[in-house]
Symmetry: C2
């Protein structure tokens, strides 16, 4: 099914990296995005782990978070680091690739091979940049639905994801219930809160304030908004951790020194940790993709399409839904998850809810956690393929 490889520019040095396989969708058709823009003949990059069975009933779609991608397992082609969910996926892992075929597409608007602002606009022969249409979570899922159809899968054994991935799961079970057999929603919300919109907005402002952003045309200009993107990432990174976790990990510990420097270099470990997070992010993520994907999150409000009723959004949902929250997650709180649970209950869905005690904040779903592992494996063990 995969046809080709793509090359993309990455990081301040504009090095070209081979992204791997992709499929071209809507070759002879087009789809209309939420904004009204139409797209056709576009690539979606994805990876699969495990084998699809004969009747194609064992596929699990994993939806990635804001800065995730299809490299859930194995070496990342840009960073060389292991996959982002090695802890939970693989042979004999909670999501057992001996049993399931895990499919992970890069989201629409992403920078790892799926159709996004870095793709070449055939009209200008240059990257789309800000001419790329603004996308929504609904658009991302629409494209995933077309991908699943193209792969010949009628019903997914499960759809799961955390954070923005969880938003996509909610969209799946609301809009395409007939194609989903079960679902796991982790550390997510049915709508982005004012505080989360605010954080995203400042991240975008930081990127766009960098003169090297060049109105989005940094590739053509041979520049790169490293500082702006790094600041956006540093700020977002704080929101992914918890106050208690930061305190436990860093507290007021100094970085390779025994005394304060009385200057503006990084004195505290937490400062140099964040600077490192910012700098390494810049090497692997596209600044314009960051704008588009954060915007998609801000726009997400599932109930909005159903007259403001989240219960109505789940009226057609019949599959089991497992909702997971983490006690120290202040970006997508337990209360956010409970709103989803209440709406699913009101729509007579089969919903279970697990609040996991953790001081690791929003990032908990990416980190080793025995309770999460047991929740996922227990939930999947009940599935009949």
């Amino acid at each position: 099914m995969n046809q080709n490889t793509q090359e993309f520019f990455f990081g301040p040095s504009h090095r070209k990296v081979e992204i791997g396989d992709f499929i071209t969708l809507c070759k002879n058709s087009e789809i209309t995005l939420t904004s009204g823009a139409k797209i056709s003949n576009f690539p979606v990059a994805y990876k699969t782990f495990g084998k699809l069975n004969e009747h194609k009933t064992n596929a699990i779609l994993v939806c990635h978070a804001l800065t995730g991608d299809q490299y859930l397992l194995g070496e990342h082609p840009v960073t060389g680091k292991p996959g982002w969910w090695e802890e939970y996926v693989g042979p004999d892992k909670p999501i057992d690739t001996n049993k399931f075929c895990v499919i992970v597409p890069n989201v629409l608007g992403g920078c790892m091979g799926s159709y996004g602002p870095k793709n070449i606009n055939p009209k200008t022969n240059k990257p789309y940049n800000l001419d790329f249409p603004v996308i929504t979570i609904s658009d991302m899922v629409k494209v995933q639905h077309i991908l699943i159809e193209a792969l010949g899968i009628k019903k997914l054994a499960s759809v799961m994801g955390g954070s923005m991935g969880g938003m996509q799961v909610l969209e799946w079970i609301s809009k395409y219930p007939e194609n989903v057999n079960s679902s796991i929603v982790m550390a997510a919300s049915a709508k982005h809160s004012a505080q989360n919109i605010a954080f995203n907005e400042i991240g975008r402002q930081a990127v766009m304030a960098d003169p090297d952003w060049c109105g989005g045309n940094y590739i053509a200009e041979g520049k790169y908004p490293s500082k702006g993107l790094s600041i956006a990432r540093m700020m977002a990174h704080i929101t992914y951790l918890s106050e208690a976790g930061l305190q436990r990990k860093f507290g007021r510990k100094l970085q390779n020194k025994s005394e304060l420097s009385y200057g503006f270099d990084a004195d505290f470990q937490v400062e140099s940790y964040l600077r490192h997070q910012g700098m390494s992010f810049v090497e692997r993520f596209d600044p314009n993709s960051y704008l588009y994907i954060t915007r998609a999150m801000d726009y997400f409000d599932l109930a909005e399409d159903f007259g403001g009723s989240l219960a109505l959004a789940f009226e057609r949902t019949k599959c089991p839904v497992c909702v997971v929250s983490f006690t120290s997650d202040w970006l997508f709180t337990t209360e956010d998850s409970k709103q989803v649970v209440r709406a699913l209950s009101a729509s007579s869905s089969d919903v279970s809810f697990v609040e996991i005690v953790s001081d690791k904040g929003h990032d908990s779903f990416l980190l080793p956690d025995e309770s999460l592992a047991k929740t996922i494996s227990g939930f999947l063990s009940k599935l009949e393929l």
Copy 2:
């Protein structure tokens, strides 16, 4: 006692604004800052409200927060807006200026007339900029102590402040207990947490990443890091509010439109609110002062000077201390206040603690709140002058 007026540059247009009265301290002496740097012959700007009585026993020192200043009441010379604590200070207000003489100095390192990076370095005849020494909360209070001595006040009726102002109050009752008759500490902490250091660090990075910061020499270069300072302020502003408050005030309301724009302009009210906050801050605050004062907050750890024991820090404290926290303040939490209360109790101090229910977050101490008004007036009513 006041001698003169000063003029300072403000904002992107570098307009000159008259700051008002100041006093020159340490004319024939010098003081050593925490960093080891020595300063002498430096200005401290301050304002007083109410009359000092004959025996100078009715003075209340109010310590301002990070971006506050001496304009607690009355029109601000830069913004033209009312003072930042009009709600609580004035004739017949909780801090009654018929009874008390309220003294408010601009902190060392500030940009409203006190000695700071905008002052002229006599060696170069140019602003100090980054040649200004790095300062601490302890240094700010040391200067205030000299000011109070210069005003002939032996014992302050009270010292009070919120946020960074509260840090200064803690420093006062620890280091100069013989000069303090009572104190109120609001929305503060005895040390800056890893999360708070992290937010400050990103704010500084945003300022310094702006090419118009010019390594701190923007005044001489005729430039101004508006974008960087604005981003720093927008981010900090989120931390001053609560998630619930933001949700109540803005939620997902759109700004002057009925539909999403599918672009990167401000669609949501919370976005345009933050942009406005960022832009108006740029007009009134000095970017280098922002670096120095946030650094002073990061460095604050009162127990550190006492072998890590906060109780030891308060060993000489004998005056009544009223500690106030706000339920929705996540920057300086109730738990932070309780640590102060526990240490004061352990050192046999006369401490009272009030946790006020509010959804207005850290900024609560600046906003109208009946409980806070009653707490302050009740506490002050017990004072014998």
